[in-house]
């Protein structure tokens, strides 16, 4: 009995294990090895062991700087927009409208992010929002190809990923706790800070991490709305691998990005654990 169970479990996990081994661990190992190698004169990769590629990382400082500012700022902006929306959906909306509104949150996902980002080119381009601003006296405002355009694009693109985890956390919130807080003398804003916010923290952290990690690897939105002026590490990687064919340096940049993300995830896990200490049922959110 136990034998069959173990074997059955192993069998079921095999596809996933093979998938991760072949498509994640193996390429990661390749990238790590490449990052210590050298570039041949015609591009590509020559075996070797040198830290030269890592020493060269500051050459891509701008990409790292953009990523490490716009990813957190984008995450924060998404959080500030998503929290009230999620709160409204989870706490205030009647059951009748809830499903419809939740579907509306996902609807943008039905269209490719590529197409939706192109739409922003028109909205932020000369004949879009700037034209509108010009008509009320704010001449010569350029929005496209700026960090602002990229920020708008990433917040727009990733908002649902922030809304849903927070929604789930708030949905579970027992509204009687808020009545209890009011009964004990807490005005509404204080019961929000003392009860609602701490109890929805797991959702906030999940959503933030989800969005942050994806933003760190983002390249599509900066490519479209940044117009080559605002580029992320992702854009640098595309450039290094496909245009300049500098695979070892590209690998070093990729490894650096992965390391930064690992550090972030480690911090995230610790924060979650600290909050999870307060509640047993949120530990695995």
């Amino acid at each position: 009995m136990a034998m069959t169970q173990t074997r059955g479990r192993a069998l079921l996990l095999t596809p996933a294990a093979l998938w991760y081994a072949a498509l994640l661990l193996l390429p990661l190992a390749v990238v790590l090895i490449f990052s210590f190698g050298e570039r041949t004169p015609i591009g590509g990769y020559a075996p070797g062991f040198t830290l030269a590629q890592y020493a060269n990382l500051p050459a891509r400082m701008a990409a790292f700087r953009n990523t490490l500012t716009l990813a957190p700022v984008g995450t924060l902006a998404a959080l500030l927009i998503a929290y009230p929306l999620a709160y409204f959906l989870a706490v205030r909306v009647s059951v009748r409208w809830k499903t419809l509104l939740l579907v509306l949150v996902i609807v943008p996902f039905w269209t490719s992010i590529l197409i939706r980002s192109y739409a922003w080119i028109f909205l932020l381009g000369g004949k879009g929002l700037p034209a509108l601003l010009a008509s009320i006296g704010f001449e010569d405002i350029r929005l496209l190809n700026s960090p602002f355009a990229v920020l708008v694009g990433i917040v727009y693109g990733y908002l649902p990923l922030m809304v849903f985890p927070i929604y789930v956390a708030l949905e579970k919130l027992d509204l009687r706790l808020l009545e209890a807080a009011a009964d004990l003398g807490a005005p509404p804003w204080r019961s929000f800070v003392q009860i609602t916010l701490p109890l929805s923290m797991p959702g906030v952290l999940t959503g933030s991490m989800l969005v942050f990690i994806l933003l760190m690897g983002e390249f599509l939105i900066p490519a479209i709305l940044g117009g080559g002026k605002v580029f992320f590490v992702g854009n640098a990687l595309v450039d290094l691998f496909l245009q300049s064919r500098n695979w070892p340096f590209g690998s070093a940049v990729a490894v650096a990005l992965v390391v930064i993300m690992l550090i972030t995830v480690a911090i995230y896990t610790r924060v979650v654990k600290r909050y999870a200490a307060g509640r047993d049922d949120v530990a695995m959110m």
């Binding site: 009687r176 807080a181 009011a182 009964d183 004990l184 003398g185 307060g278 049922d281």
Partner: protein, 384 residues
Amino acid sequence: MMIQNPSMADAASTDVAPTEVVAEFAGATKRFGAVLAADRINLRIRRGEFLSFLGPSGCGKTTALRMLAGFEAPTEGAVLIDGKDVSAVPAHKRPVNMVFQHYALFPHMTVAQNVGYGLRQRRPRLPGAEIAQKVDAALAKVRLADFGARRIWELSGGQQQRVALARAIINEPQILLLDEPMAALDAKLRGEMQRELLELQRSLNVTFVLVTHDQEEALSMSDRICIMGKGRIAQVGSPQELYDRPRNRYVADFVGRANIVAAKIIARQGGIAQAVLGNGATIGVNDLPGDTRGKAEIAIRPEALTLARGKDAVPEDTVALPARVTHRTFLGDRTEYLLMAEGIGPLQVNSPRQAASAIGEHDVGAHVRVLWRAGTGLVLAADI
């Protein structure tokens, strides 16, 4: 037993002198859309009493409590606390505290943090040392002295309830509201908690307002009970008054068991009505003050009736109703008989053990006589 003299009335329990009033419902009405959850509730709550709202679910008892707590504002009428109209005062500014049905303890806080929550909301702030000391005292009062550092989910249901109690009483409220606090406890624990709650109420001298659907709980704990149905107050009175003098069928049915039989009233004098039962027998019953109807329902408690064999002599002032035993349930201290009385219908008679050992048990199918002594029945008002 129904009391002999109804004209004593329940004045003592319904009229509360203005100086004694801690809270008052003044025509308080609450509508949720088309639903009338509370219908013109008029009630004065006496300072220091233990009052229960009793009724089935949907009767309006919880709405009444929530209007007192400040979670619902009356659609019409007013709610007063300490003589002031608080209808528009939000919950966090009212001098009342509540023990919630499922306790509503904060899961991300320790027991001590939960209990101290109300004190931490005070402005200007109380010193931390004072809060800590009051928390310890409150926990000691509910016999959870060493539980301050525990997490909520580490506690049993009974312990959680004590935490909820401590969290409410620590604020020294004018009124402690209890929303079915015992509903989630098993029977044994419930009995213990009821006793503890009563002791607590006596030692604190705080007004307790309890909402319950459990009539035994209400009868055993309350100074007064407010029986509710269909959003209205059916009757307010002490447990004894409600049992002995139910005003209408709803109350008679809800508190204890009652036989309710139709009768014609042919004469009324001195608080006694002469009722002609379905089989033609005439019996004097306690009249409903001010009633003038020619037909009414009469209530008689199963333990007020006795059984006799066909040949036994009938005592004075008693009518004997021929009946047949249809069910017999032996319950140790008493035997419950269900009978079919000729011309009247089903009746229940509870015979205490001594009576049974003296005259013997009656078998199902046996023809017996139900003895109804004058003055033990009661004319009921038309329903609420």
